[in-house]
Amino acid sequence: AGRPVTVASLFGEDKPETRVWRKIAEILNRTAPGRFDLRIVGNAALGGEKEVAEGVRLGSVQASLSTISALSGWVPDSQILDLPFLFRDRGHLKRVLAGPLGDELKGKFEGQGFVVLGFINYGARHLLAKEPITTPAGIKGKRIRVIQSPLHTELWSGLGAYPTPIPIPETYNALKTGVVDCMDLTKSAYVGFKLHEVVPYLIETGHIWASGVIYVSAAFWKGLSAEDKAALSAAAAEGVGYFDDLIVADEEASMAKAAAEGGKVVQPQDRPAWEEGARKVWTSFASKLGGIDKIEAVAKSA
């Protein structure tokens, strides 16, 4: 039944993270019949992103999706994609990754045992709060739930807030009872975790774009024939477009649901002030990410 390929997904059958692999399997059935047996295991049954990446290096998992930040322990340079207020919009990010920066990062991932078949976009993180906090002044002194990452912590403490790391399943409760006042997340996850019930305001800051990769293990890749490599590459490329479309559609549906249940979307005011706060993170991480000039060049690029 073809070469067994263990594919790890974090979510269930109905989510883009798993549907993209069903799509790739379907394409491969057409373009390389009988060559691959994709064993797609969802619901994070094979572990979180970091464990899956370890499994890819150790040979228990052959393919998966991952956010860039989960792989930054292996490729610290890739954190440039996670810098706040660096990308203006979805198109800007896509163009940068299609250029030399994308090629450079692909090379670095491959050096660590991860063959990147394409860059994906999980959507942007937005500020979520109980009140319409539209300016950096409004966030001062607030307790904000963060993921455990120095980059995120520095962003919010630089803006004068108190970052508090809380695991995502406990976050709803922590917001409801006032342990924290606000947080940030992508739109799909915001509604997926029903957080619009406790932080009804989504301030559309889009401050960090959650980039990711479709990747396979380097050892697995080396063992493929040129034909199979070509088939898998082409299927993954189609998968990238499919995934990005699914995310956009999922975000729209999520926000419609939030609006129907009392959620409100507001626009941030005084964008230069937000960007100014975020620049502290740029300078603090610059030495690790190839220098401030490189970062500025990405920000200014078309």
Binding site: P4, S60, S149, S157, P163, E170, N173
Partner: protein, 622 residues
């Protein structure tokens, strides 16, 4: 063993004494190291709590450092988890064998333990070489976590064989080593046979090791390793990586803290104050002392998260009192074992923590369900005790209102502990891990203020709970590679098919899921069963329209009942080990309580299955 002592294979007395002293020293050293790691872990989490609530904000490194310390704690305790009383060795079947066969079985059992430890040692070393990467938060290389397990695996080989040499003979230990290396090498070689479902191979081989009396965590590791020879999908380094990932979870940090809080509660005399209060409430009923045991367990459960701690306390404090009052010893032990299952149902609960880790259910929401289920089960146990205790008429005189008030005030420090933990978690004031650390701080301060603890007992409690936490952690870790195989084998699809065989409605799914759990729970440890089965069953229950939290609570209740069933009823073993009543007799005496618990389970299942059809205004009452 006495027959062996006269054999010429046993070393000369002086050499033997030195060997005993050496092993004792090694084990004590590991226990002390575990105690120190646990103390540091406590300091790290408390520092983060203080920083957050006193100064605002948090340390970005505290959670990850705590996780790494927990990994180190489990690795240090791995050798103890193979040889101590908490090794979860199934000895019921081996004991039925003639003496010669028993010796042979023990050689095999130790060989399985050696095989499992070699997987940790050698696989761990490969991970160190291959994994790469570093923690962005701590700035330390990731291989350190795996190196700890490689060392722990190596030490386990030493301790297991040393123990075998002392308990049996040097040649027996040598035979276990050779056989264990043989198993290990067999697992590395490809048989050329490709089995579609390697998890079945792993399960059968693990079952064989278990029957022979090998320690459960190592049985699981050895089984998964051997499945590699049949086209297994988990290379050796990945087995260790999964094991370490299995214990690298923030929620699991609460386990050592809840164990430590329970230990301090007992050592500091707070638990005995609970007993006095319980006696003043129900001591005058028929079978008053048995009802007091139940009521004490309910109160203890509100402050403790561990049924094993509850059973150990009951066996030490309540069982002798029951026996002195004329209860047959087996019956007294059965009452203590039966009521101790409540500890993992009434919050806080380690079982719910493991469930939340395996399924991403919110611990805060599970708490409410735990209180409701705990109430139903406590009532069932009260009725069971009332109906089953016939000969002994031991009612104490009814306590006056003044006596009750006095004993209530005496029990307040212990009751306050439960309130701190539950209110903290429920209202999200603290995360579960922080709440468990606060429980330790509370117990420590309360006992020191009441002058019922000294520094020596505190160190003793640290050492004991570190060892127990390592044993529990080792089992959780060792279950992870097995769960990985189950997931890759697509067992979840088969499980979904089995559970929906009578249609996908809530009643049919509830019935079949409980039957699956009732059978599986007989042969699996509670923690392992939750980790392996909850992720497979929960999606089916959700698609049948059942409430995931209610289903999760029922799953835990079902599996906790198995703490009382042969062959692997852990609560019966703990109580039988402390009271020295044979486990078989306790298993028989606990039957009436088991029956009432099963009735209570049926009631809970019916309620949860009917829930989707209840009118919304009624649901909002909860």
């Amino acid at each position: 063993m006495t027959s062996l002592a006269t054999s010429s294979l046993v070393p000369k007395p002086s050499l033997r004494r030195r060997a005993e002293r050496g092993l004792f020293g090694l084990v004590a050293g590991l226990e002390w190291l575990g105690a120190i790691i646990l103390a540091v872990l406590f300091a790290v989490v408390m520092a983060a709590v203080l920083r957050r609530y006193v100064f605002g904000g948090g340390y970005v490194w505290s959670d990850e450092l705590a996780i790494w310390l927990n990994v180190a704690l489990v690795a240090v305790g791995a050798p103890l988890a193979a040889t101590s009383a908490l090794a979860m060795r199934l000895d019921v079947i081996v004991r039925l064998l003639p003496a010669g066969a028993q010796r042979l079985a023990s050689v095999f059992a130790d060989a399985v333990a050696v095989h499992g430890s070699l997987v940790l040692a050698c696989g761990g070393a490969s991970v160190v070489a291959l994994v790469g990467g570093s923690s962005t938060v701590l700035g330390l290389p990731e291989w350190l976590r795996f190196a700890a397990f490689a060392v722990g695996g190596g030490l386990t080989v030493v301790v297991v064989l040393w123990r075998a040499a002392l308990d049996s003979s040097w040649p027996a230990a040598l035979a276990s080593l050779v056989l264990g290396i043989g198993f290990y090498l067999a697992a590395q070689s490809a048989t050329g046979i490709f089995v579609e479902t390697p998890s079945l191979v792993a399960a059968s081989l693990a079952g064989l090791g278990l029957i022979l009396g090998a320690p459960l965590p190592y049985v699981l590791l050895a089984g998964v390793s051997l499945s590699g020879a049949f086209g297994g999908l988990l290379p050796e380094p990945a087995i260790v990586q999964n094991t370490v990932s299995g214990v690298s979870k923030f929620l699991l940090l609460a386990i050592p803290f809840f164990l430590l809080a329970g230990e301090l509660l007992t050592a500091g005399g707070l638990a005995e104050r609970l007993v006095r209060f319980a006696a003043s409430l129900v001591g005058h009923w028929r079978a008053g002392l048995a009802q007091t045991t139940l009521m004490s367990s309910v109160l203890f459960s509100g402050a403790s998260g561990s049924s094993v701690a509850n059973a150990a306390f009951g066996a030490k404090v309540m069982a002798p009192a029951l026996i002195a009052r004329g209860y047959p010893p087996a019956h007294a032990a059965a009452i203590v074992a039966g009521v101790s299952m409540l500890d993992n149902i009434i919050p806080p609960s380690i079982a719910f923590l493991i469930l939340a880790t395996a399924t991403n259910l919110s611990v805060g929401s599970l708490l409410v369900g735990g209180f409701i289920a705990g109430g139903v089960l406590a009532l069932a146990l009260a009725i069971g005790i009332h109906l089953s205790v016939r000969e002994v008429v031991d009612a104490a005189p009814k306590a006056s209102g003044q006596e009750r008030a006095k004993s209530f005030i005496g029990a307040l420090p212990a009751i306050g502990l439960g309130v701190v933990v539950v209110v903290g978690i429920r209202f999200g004031v603290v995360t579960v891990t922080e709440a468990s650390a606060l429980a330790v701080a509370y117990a420590l301060i309360a006992c020191l203020a009441l002058r019922s603890l000294n520094i020596g007992t505190v160190f003793g409690a640290l050492r004991k709970s570190a060892t127990e936490a390592a044993a529990v952690g080792m089992l959780i870790g060792a279950s992870a590679p097995f769960a990985f195989l189950l997931a890759v084998d697509r067992v979840s699809d088969q499980m979904a098919g089995l559970v929906t065989a009578l249609g996908g409605g809530p009643y049919a799914v509830m019935l079949l899921a409980n039957l699956v759990l009732l059978v599986a729970g007989l042969f699996l440890d509670i923690g392992a069963a939750i980790l392996l089965l909850a992720p497979l069953l929960l999606p089916v229950a959700i698609s049948a329209g059942l409430d995931p939290i209610q289903f999760g609570v029922i799953l835990v209740v079902n599996l906790m009942i198995h703490g009382l069933t042969p062959p692997l009823g852990i609560l019966v073993y703990v109580v039988s080990g402390i009271t020295r009543v044979p486990a078989g007799a306790v298993f028989r005496a606990v039957l009436p309580l088991l029956a009432t618990l099963l009735v209570a389970l049926a009631v809970l299942c019916l309620g949860a299955a009917a829930w989707p059809s209840f009118p919304p205004p009624f649901k909002e009452l909860f």
